[in-house]
């Protein structure tokens, strides 16, 4: 058991120790030994010289609004799709589900053109729009399936009392949906933060480039500076790991929820 846990952790351990060593020490002592002198130099260098602070900020500026907007927009749509009967409902829902199947490469060129056309290339908004758009199918799907199981009696009672649709949505449905929203938060946060392809295609320079792309570009520019590379990687990896650990208990529920798709 311990051995197996160890197996999954070895690379992480390696990357943490390496980041605290100087390049000379890596070459003489190897990777696995604990550093003789703990030094934060690699982090300082990644942060200042390689501008990781800026890229990290970019990633946050992109990720946080993307997550909030996509869940908000999707929940608004999921409400009538699940709680009110109207014509065309099934067709609209089918379109959302179909969106789940599109391979990302189909979208690359059309969206690249679209973003350029509306003049948003190399801005935060370009990435936010793209991520919100891609978040819709999965968010609408999961939220709609959750909403539909909320007893209708609650809604009827509220209607009798003269509640508007928006009040039913905001005061009754959304509070009940908290657990499923937590799950979507983890999914969307990880998804947007981890994105690499769109960051690579829709940005240049440091204006709006997310940290994943910056990290990728770090290699090749310099001779293998293991310590700085691993320092950069650790900085990049921390937010998603923190989110996962914080919401651990929602996670399993989330997988099975997501698994109902298909």
């Amino acid at each position: 058991m311990i051995v197996l846990a160890f197996m999954f952790l070895v690379p992480i351990y390696g990357s943490i120790v390496t980041s605290f060593k100087s390049i000379e020490e890596i070459l003489t002592e190897g990777f696995w030994s604990l550093p003789n002198h703990f030094s934060f130099e690699s982090y300082v260098e990644a942060w200042q010289l390689k501008n990781f602070g800026r890229y990290l900020l970019n990633s946050f500026i992109i990720t946080i609004p993307s997550v909030i907007i996509s869940i908000l927009v999707a929940s608004l749509a999921a409400y009538p799709l699940s709680r009110i009967k109207f014509k065309g409902q099934n067709i609209i829902f089918f379109l959302f589900v179909a969106g789940l199947f599109l391979p990302p490469q189909i979208n690359l060129l059309p969206l690249y053109k679209f973003i350029n056309m509306i003049g948003l290339y190399d801005t935060y908004w370009a990435l936010i729009i793209v991520h919100v758009a891609f978040g819709q199918p999965i968010c609408v799907f999961i939220l709609r399936n959750f909403f539909i199981n909320i007893p209708f009696e609650i809604q009827e009672a509220a209607k009798m009392d003269g509640c508007s649709n928006f009040r039913i949505y905001s005061r009754i449905i959304m509070p009940l949906a908290k657990p499923v929203i937590a799950v979507l938060l983890i999914f969307q946060f990880t998804w947007v933060w981890n994105d690499f392809l769109w960051g690579m295609i829709l940005t240049q320079g440091e204006n709006a480039r997310p940290v994943t792309v910056a990290l990728f570009n770090l290699q090749g520019m310099y001779v293998v500076e293991w310590n700085i590379q691993t320092a950069g990687a650790n900085i990049t990896a921390i937010p998603t790991i923190v989110v996962f650990l914080l919401f651990q208990r929602y996670f399993i529920k989330g997988i099975t929820l997501g698994a109902v798709k298909g």
Partner: protein, 292 residues
């Protein structure tokens, strides 16, 4: 009737985003896949060429066949390994009260919470010619291996890295499922003198079937779409040896700028993913009807 007003307002924003993110790209690409648009041929007039692009996919094995074979090898070996390792570990974790269970679970979350690009880059450091693995092999007196330089080895490395990152996901799903199995079923079998492996094979596994199929389906879809990890680990190389369909489609459209062929490629991937989901969903619905 007041309630029925305003529903369009609710759905509209999401539909707009869906149109931007899925509908418009889908039709745009669909049209392009029937045209001969190639940015490498400047001044070439874009005309409709029917199924020419699709035909071209099959003229040479290198274009579509080889990446497809690589994808199949990659997907099948990855998810088989992930499933077997995960099942053994999940059985181990759920069967006994082991100290540090929660700590182990927390450790398991870390690989899958790590950004795929980082996982790929880490793999690259570990397995590069002067990387850590060769460094230690050297200490054992084994000459350095060209892990990422040889076609077979590189594919194996890609599979190892994939299995490292996603086995924990399987373990957590299977463990959750195993914990939900009613204790009475297992106890009854024990009373009848069933051996532990019989309990696993004839009681636990059948009860987990639905969950297993779902987990395998999710992994299959993800493995077909995988891009970041392979791109940062090998870039599809050496000589396209680790190029799955997803990487190949990107290369054709965005490195070789053959837009027509690239989009046709994407639609082939789409058809394959749809076929695979139909396959899995069929298994699931058959199971629901109790036809196992």
């Amino acid at each position: 009737m007041r309630l029925n007003k305003g529903r369009i307002g609710f759905v509209l924003p999401a539909v707009v985003f869906l149109a931007i993110g899925s509908l418009f790209p889908f039709f745009y690409s669909l049209v392009r896949s029937f045209q001969n648009w190639n940015l490498n041929v400047p001044g070439d007039k874009i005309t409709f060429t029917g199924f020419n692009n699709y035909a071209q996919l099959f003229t040479s094995f290198e274009v579509f066949g080889k990446p497809l074979v690589i994808t199949i090898i990659f997907v099948i070996s990855s998810i088989t390994l992930e499933f077997i390792i995960a099942l053994l570990l999940a059985l181990l974790i759920s069967s006994r009260d082991i100290k540090g269970k929660n700590f182990f679970r927390t450790c398991l979350i870390i690989p899958m919470a790590t950004t795929p690009v980082i996982v790929g880059l880490m793999g690259k450091y570990l397995f590069s010619d002067f990387g850590i693995i060769n460094h230690y092999l050297g200490k054992l007196g084994i000459p350095p291996q060209p892990w990422l330089g040889s076609s077979t080895m590189a594919l194996i490395v890609v599979i190892i890295v994939e299995v490292w990152q996603w086995t924990p996901f399987m373990i957590l799903i299977l463990e959750a499922g195993l914990n939900d199995i009613p204790q009475t079923a297992v106890e009854a079998a024990d009373m009848d003198g069933a051996k532990p492996w019989q309990v696993v094979l004839f009681i636990k596994l059948p009860l987990l079937k639905r969950l297993i199929v779902l987990a395998l389906m999710l992994r299959t879809m993800d493995c077909i779409r995988i891009f970041d990890m392979i791109w940062s680990l090998t870039g599809g190389g050496p000589v396209n040896a680790t190029e799955t369909v997803s990487i190949a489609a990107y290369r054709i459209a965005f490195r070789y700028f053959n837009i027509g062929l690239g989009t046709a490629y994407c639609f082939m991937i789409l058809i394959i993913t749809i076929l695979i989901s139909i396959f899995y969903v069929n298994i699931l619905t058959r199971e629901e009807q109790g036809a196992w």
